[in-house]
Amino acid sequence: MTPPTDILDYRTQSPEVSARFSKLKERPVVLSVKNLTKIFPSQNGDVTALNSIDFEVYRREFMCVIGPSGCGKSTLIRILAGLESETSGAVLLDGNPVAGPGPDRGMVFQSYTLFPWLTVKQNVLFGPKMAGQKGATVESEARQWIEMVGLSKFENSYPHQLSGGMKQRVAIARALANRPRILLMDEPFGALDAQTRCQMQSYLLKIWKNLDITILFITHDLDEATYLSDRILVLKANPGEVDEIIEVPVPRPRTVDQFVSPEFIATKHRIDELIHPKNKGGDDELHFPRMTKEGDDVE
C-alpha cells in the first residue's frame, strides 16, 4: 500500500489533537504494565513470547493492540486477565498488583464462551450469582444489560439459538454485568463476517461511550484498530515487544465515513509500515512462476 504523497504524517498533529491526548493522559491510570516478560519453556529452547512490555491505559480509554500473528497479543491479554502468569514484571490495576483471574477484569474471547446450558439472561446473571448477589434488582439490571446489546427478545433463548454476532453481544453484556474496571477483548469479532463485524464495532463504540469503562482490544484488522482506538499499541514479533504507541488523530465521534479521511489513511499506513516492514519492496520480491499464457491477461 503506497500512501498518497500529500497525506500528512499522523505524527504532525493539529493542536486540537495534541490537546485531546494531553487531556487523556491527565486521567488516572487504570491499568499499568511494567517490564512484563513471558517465557514459555519448551523442549527445543525457551520461547520468549513477550519481552519487557511497558504501557499504561487511562480511565475510559479505548486501546487496541495490534501486531503480526504470533507476536504475543493473546499471551499479553491472558496475563492481564490472570489466566496465565508472567515470568517477570508486574501488572497493576488501579495501582494494585493483580494475581489470578477476577471479576474486576472482564474478558470477551474470540471463541464463543457462553454457557450452553444457561439462557441469555442466566448467562448475564452468572457473574453476579458467583458473587452471591440475587434478587429483583440484580435481575432487572441483567435485563438492562441485555437491552443495551439489543437482545431483549432473546433473553430466554439458549446460546445455540443465536447467531455468532448475537453470542458475542451476550458475551459483552455478561462481562459488563460484573461492573469490571477494564474490559479485555481478544479478537472478539474475528469470527464474524465483515458486515456483522462493522455493526458490532459501532455497537461497541456506543456502549463504551455511555459507560464508565476502559477497553483493551486485540485485533489484527487495521481498519478496526483505527476506527475504535484512542491509541494503538503496536507489537512486533520475536520476541514480542512494544514497537510504537500510535495516537489516532481521527476525531470522535467516529463514523464509517471517516474511513477515507486523510488521518484515517495515514494512521492505517503507519500501522501497516510497522507490522509489514518487508512488503515495501513490491512485486520484485515475488518469486512465483507464471502459470498463464502471455497475452491472456485481463488488462
Binding site: 490472570g82 489466566l83 483471574p101 464462551t113 452468572f126 458467583m130 439459538q161 458475551a171
Partner: protein, 464 residues
Amino acid sequence: MSGSLKKAREPWFAVRRELSPQRSSVLTIVSFALPLLIWAAVSYLPFLWHPDVQLQLSANRADVSTVYVAGDRVSKSYFPEFQEAVRSQNEDLKKQLSSDDPLAGASESSVRRANKKVLRHLVPLLIQNKWIKDDQATDDEAIYHAWGELASSSRRLKSPSLSEENLAIVEDNWKAMSAIAPNYVSDNFVSTPLLSLIPQGKTSNPDYLPAPDQVLAAGVKVFSIPADGDRPSMVQRIGHSLQIVFGGFCLAALVGVPIGVVCGTYPFFSRLVEPFTDFFRYMPAPTFSTLLVAIFLANDAPKIALVFVGTFFQLVLVTANTTRRLDMPLLEAAQTLGASQRQLLTRVVVPGILPNLYDDLRILLGWAWTWLVIAELVGVKSGLTEFIETQGRFRNFDMVFPIIILIGLIGFFTDQILSLIKGLVFPYTEDGTKAASHPILKAVLFIPRLVLRLLTNRSASGTT
C-alpha cells in the same frame, strides 16, 4: 424451456451426504426386514440349505442300537441308508415267514411285544392328522382301529401323508392282524412278526435354526406358562433380569460418576485413581464370579456385584475423559467472571458435561446388558438365563430364540427411549430442538404440557 430445468435426482450413494427423511425411514425398515427375510428364506426354501431330514415316521433297526423317534433329525446322507436298512430287514422277515420256522426261535410273547411297537410307530402321523389325541399315544385300541381304517382305504392320512410303500405294508400287516381279531384284544394279538414301516421324513434345517413361525409359536407358549411353585413366569423372569442389570448399573453410576468427575477435574485425583483403574478394567469381570459368591453369598448380591465390576471401572475412565473434554475456554470465562474453584466444579464442570455424560451412560448401560447372562449364571442360575440354559440343554432351541430376541429388544428400546428423551432433559442441545418437534414426543407430551401451561397460567394470574 422448463423441461431443461428438471431437478437432478439425488444419488443414493454419495460420500457423507445425508439422505432424505423418506429414504432414511425406508432404509431403517429394510435394515430390520432384510435379516428377517433371509431367516425366512433359509427356513422355508428347502433348496437353500436344509441339510437334515426330520423324521415324520421312524422305525426300529435291529442291527443298530441308536433309536430314532419321529421329530428327530438325521443327515440327508444317512436317511436313504436308514430306509434301505429297514427295507432289507423286511425282506429278511418275509423269507423267514415263508420258511419252516416263522418265529425264528423267538417266544410268542416277545414277538407280540415287538408287534405292538410296530403298531405304535404310526402314532406321530395319527396325532398330526388329528385321528387320535395327544394323550392317546398308548391307546392301542384306537391305534389298532386306525390301522384297520387305513388298510381298508376308508380313510387316508393327508398331512403328512403315508407313502404308497408304507400303505402296502399296512395292508399286509392288517391281513395278519385281522385274521386274529378285528378289534384290539391284548391277549389275542397277532403273534407272527409284522413288517416294519419304512422311515418317512421331510428335509429341514438343523434344530439350532428353528423357523420364524416355530419361534413365534414358542414365544407365545413361553409367555403363557403361568408361575408355579419355584418356577417363575416369564414376566417375573424379565423383572428379575432387569433388576440385576439396572441394579448393577445404577450402583456403578452412583459411585463411578462422582469419582470420574473428580478425576477429570483435578489432575491430582486423575493421577491417583486412573492408572490403577485402567489396569483393573482389563481383568475380565467373570473371573471374579467365584470370589463374588464368597463375599456376597447367595441370591442376587453377587450377580449385581458382577455387573458392577464389569461396568464400574470403564465408567470411571469414560466419565473422567468426558469431564476433561469440557471446553477449557468455558472454565476460563467462568474464572474471569469471578467463579471460585468450588463454583467452577459445581456451576460449570457438572452442568457442562451432563449432556455428554448422558450419552456415555447410555453406552455403558449397553455394556451392563452384556454382563447379564454371565451374572445370572453366577451362584444359583436365575432369570432369563436360567430358562435359556434349561431349554438349551434339551435342545428346545425354538424356546431359546424368543428369549434371546427379547433381551435384544429390551436393550434396544431402552436405548431408543433414552435417546428420545435426551432432548427433553437437555433442551439447550441440538437434540433439544429436534425433540421439541418430534411427532411421537409431541403426542406423548401433549397432556403433561397442557397441565403445565394451565398451572403456570393460574399461578401467574394468582399473583397479579
